[in-house]
Amino acid sequence: MKLELGFTQINDIQFSKECKVDNGTLYVDPEAVKAFMYGDDDVKAWVKDFTFDVARPGESVRITPVKDVIEPRVKVEGPGGVFPGVISKVDTVGSGKTHVLRGMAVVTAGKIVGFQEGIIDMSGPGADYTPFSKLNNFVVVAEPMDGYQDNKHEYEHAVRIAGLRAATFIGELARDLTPDETETFETYGIKEGIEKLPGLPRVAYVHMLQSQGLLHDTYVYGVDAKRTLTTILYPTETMDGAIISGNCVSACDKNTTYHHENNPVVKSLFEAHGKTLNYVCNIITNENVYLADKQRSSDWTAKLCRLLDLDGVIVSQEGFGNPDTDLIMNTKKIELQGVKTTIITDEYAGQDGKSQSLADADPLADAVVTGGNANEVIILPKMDKVIGMLDYVDVIAGGHAGSLRPDGSIEAELQVITGATNEMGFNCLSAR
């Protein structure tokens, strides 16, 4: 399967009556975006109102609580449309051509529904830890209808769909653009790959999807991942939004939809594809809470690795603690099939860094990449402007009573920062 991505760099976002992309600037009418978001009945039912703002790199701006980050894309050739099974129909995506508005994102924020939403600082020390400080962010702040507290699943769904619809609306503006840059990605059928790339080790990406319930869910072609069996995808399918995030876990190791669209493991494996390895496919597997599910999913992962006659896999985790069990089960079973593994995780070694970092371990997991210790404490200075609200800083995962200090600064663990210790290996942050 072959996909061409055409990138248009967005250097600024301006509110305007006319919606267009011109000379690197996105002009967008918030009212038009709002009208498009309200085109969905669930959004209508659960979101009272939306407000809009723009956050640019280097500005003294804090966005919180953050739910999702989404890169606007539009499918211009080939079957299907972006976010299949959710926004577009369920056709198989990942081939043809897709246009991308690079350097920007849609960020959904607003009143908390659980504990987990995060912080994006556009400048200062916090900005070093989140990749989204480098983007021009079109921020959508949702205000829930009264009574949402008793209908959290419905409200979360509505905000998720609203964000995807905003990104779809903006992505559509890229349809007729001539991209600044194009890049082509292709993987082969099993036999074809062996013939085309003889002698290269055959490698797949075992992509673990968080699937533990509210704010811990991931959707594949619209299907809730906790109701899926381990299966395979062409890597390019992820670039068209086949996997979306409904998931805030702790913000630091949450895979936003942006992470799925720009999966760095997919990117790095494509860079090595045909040179040092033969990139075969992605294997997606969930992280459910029940032991029987964990056993079944990890059995299937190992089984598929063997069936595909792989030589090696990269395993990426999402979340921590309970999913450490899934990570270790997967790794151990895959290694016992004679398939070599490298895993990407992050650490909860305590604020002093002295604790054991994972909740489960096995000697077969001998090749580990870490996204850093999420318990490490950071001081985030006061920002001139807050998009969203600071009301929840003390109770989000990584905060504590008194995190928000009288002078407006925040003392909290890295956990609070969206994407800080991402376990797809999106960042340079690590630990030893």
Binding site: F115, V289, T342, N373, G399
Partner: protein
């Protein structure tokens, strides 16, 4: 003003002699001796070796208490800003002496210390107690070891923030530190996998810990006479979370009285846990902390009684070391209260 440093070396590096002279007793010399020059050169006057302690390796090994007493006495009197020992490379007794005396200076005199040696040197056993720079296994590595040790020592003297072990050159000491790599994690993972596939050396960024597994105690013989307590890492707390147990990375646990409580109702209890879907636990907190069922068992005589207190914390993102410390403390309370068994629920 430059920082004042005391340097510890053995008879070989002081040019007294090899194995045949390893019996020499500790002596104190002015200024630097032997490898001390390389350290001084890097410091360029910002720090300086004011005294050098020379001691035979055999003497230290065979008269450890006496050697320590003598050397500590000197160092105490000199009051240096820093104490540096070695590097010892793969010399076993020298490495042991460097680590042992450095550790004593640090612990007993409160002076910051540093030593250096090969990772397999027996002296490296103390790497979790004192900072030890990893060196090659022979003195040929001095050209690399001395600048690394000198640079790290100067950082410590200046009170600067110390980076991760791989940046500063010290052996991993059980304290995880964040830093920014040059490449993103995914690229590092692909490179590591390609090396592993080609049987080339690779270094894991997190060596697997040896996992602490606790064997359960033997089963109770007679439940009908047992006092049983409920404990949880699922974050069940009185409504409003009065003790502010964190939603992740809990810094403490809560102890709550359930005398006369038959059922955990959503108007009085909730979960503080941020790591799972809280909707169902908040609808009926007994789902995580089954007080209702335990009361039934109590009435039916299946158990003697339910302990009148429960202990709770949030497991989410909480360091294993913290969890262990909480449990050690409240296990004692449970024991003192005559509790026979605990049902620990997790989420």
């Amino acid at each position: 003003m430059s920082y004042r440093v005391v340097h510890y070396i053995n008879q070989f590096f002081a040019n007294i002699g090899g194995e045949e002279m390893a019996h020499v007793e500790p002596e104190l010399r002015d200024g630097f001796v032997g490898p001390g020059m390389a350290l001084n050169n890097v410091w360029k006057g910002e720090a300086e070796i004011v005294k050098t302690v020379v001691c035979g390796d055999s003497y230290f090994a065979e008269h450890e208490a006496a050697a320590k007493e003598k050397i500590l006495g000197w160092v105490k009197e000199i009051k240096p800003d820093f104490f540096i020992a070695g590097p010892a490379f793969n010399a076993g007794r020298y490495g042991y002496a460097c680590s042992t005396i450095a550790c004593a200076v640090q612990d007993e005199l409160g002076i910051p210390v540093l030593t250096g040696m090969y990772e397999e040197n027996p002296g490296a056993d103390l790497k979790n107690k004192i900072l030890i720079v990893a060196t090659s296994n022979s003195a040929a590595g001095m050209r690399k070891a001395a600048p690394t040790m000198a640079a790290l020592a100067l950082k410590i003297m200046k009170g600067e923030k110390i980076g991760a072990s791989c940046q500063e050159g010290y052996m991993p000491n059980g304290i995880r530190k964040n830093f920014f790599e040059k490449e993103i994690g995914a690229k590092r993972a692909v490179d590591m996998l390609v090396n592993k596939l080609n049987d080339k050396p690779f270094t894991t960024e997190y060596p697997m810990p040896s996992f602490d597994r606790v064997a359960p105690n033997p089963a109770l013989k007679d439940l009908s006479k047992a006092t049983i307590a409920l404990c949880t890492s699922g974050g069940i707390v009185p409504k409003g979370n009065p003790d502010h147990i964190e939603s992740s990375s809990a810094s403490h646990y809560g102890e709550y009285d359930i005398t006369g409580v038959d059922d955990l109702t959503p108007d009085k209890y909730e979960t503080a846990h941020g790591g799972y879907d809280p909707v169902y636990a908040n609808e009926d907190p007994d789902r995580v902390l089954p007080v209702d069922v335990m009361r039934e068992f109590e009435r039916e005589g299946k158990i003697g009684k339910l302990h009148n207190k429960f202990y709770t914390t949030v497991g989410n993102g909480t360091a294993v070391a913290s969890a262990k410390a909480f449990a050690c403390e409240y296990a004692q309370k449970l024991r003192e209260a005559g509790v026979h068994a605990v049902i620990m629920t997790s989420t």
